[in-house]
Amino acid sequence: MKEAKSAKLNHQDNNEQIHHENSHLGSFKLAKLFDSEASWDKDQLGDVLHWIRQVVGLLCGLIWGAIPLVGGIWLLLFLAISSGIVYGYYALILKVDEEDYGGHAALLQDGLFASLSVFLLAWILVYSLSSF
């Protein structure tokens, strides 16, 4: 009897969670992105940092290719800019305590590899197409 009840509760919980996940994007408010008082889930913060990195990677790649900037030093500059923006965002705008989210290393490496490849792809493509 007790087991059946707990199974039922668990099932309800499950359904609620799935429903919550479905409405996750819908309930996400833009204002929260700049609210230093808002509380952040580890997954949510990771996702936001991931997408910020991707956008920065794409923009930098397009700009670097269009100018065009040539040389490995610009790759390092991109890494510095991208990490600086992410650090500035979570430390200065959101003011989160990095220890709650696994330290600086965990927050700074979220989406780093993917954004590096997005950046390289955009840079190489725009440079190859526009300069030759």
Binding site: D100, A114, I124, S128
Partner: protein
Amino acid sequence: MATTIPLFASFKYADSLTVVGISFFTALVCEAISWILIYRTTSYKSLKFSIDKAAKKLETMKTENPSSKLTIKKSKTKKIDRVESSLKESSRDLSLFKFKSGAVVALVLFVVFGLLNSLFEGKVVAKLPFHPIAIVRKMSHRGLKGDDATDCSMAFLYLLCSISIRTNLQKFLGFSPPRGAAGAGLFPMPDPKTN
């Protein structure tokens, strides 16, 4: 010989766009296969849910203030160990689950790579705006003649495409593996406590 779309024919390196287009399409096909074989099944959903739940539980248990009483502390460590082992088990199940579609996706990627190889073998598809280091150069100059380090082969461009497009597509569609399961693969590291 590769055929280029007339609109882009004026570009010297228009082949790069073909490579990007093909890899984008392949990524879509791979995700569709994964969705059919894994993500739409209820057993995957419940497994993912239990991993997320266990990971969150573990996190809150670890961050709670440590109690000074020895007996409570002992029972808490036991509880943490139990949750940890169930999390490991679920992660292992998840990896096994993904193995099935992984094989199909690998086959698709292999076939596409073969196709691209036959289309662009020995051809410079793009120009690198930097001089790559030796390890990267092996990939970026694969199958190309000449000594110009800034020549980019199809393999390097395809690698960049598959990393960036596939990772972001999975993230966008919500198919990326749950964070709680990160690092726990088919062959987990041995737990020093059990030895």
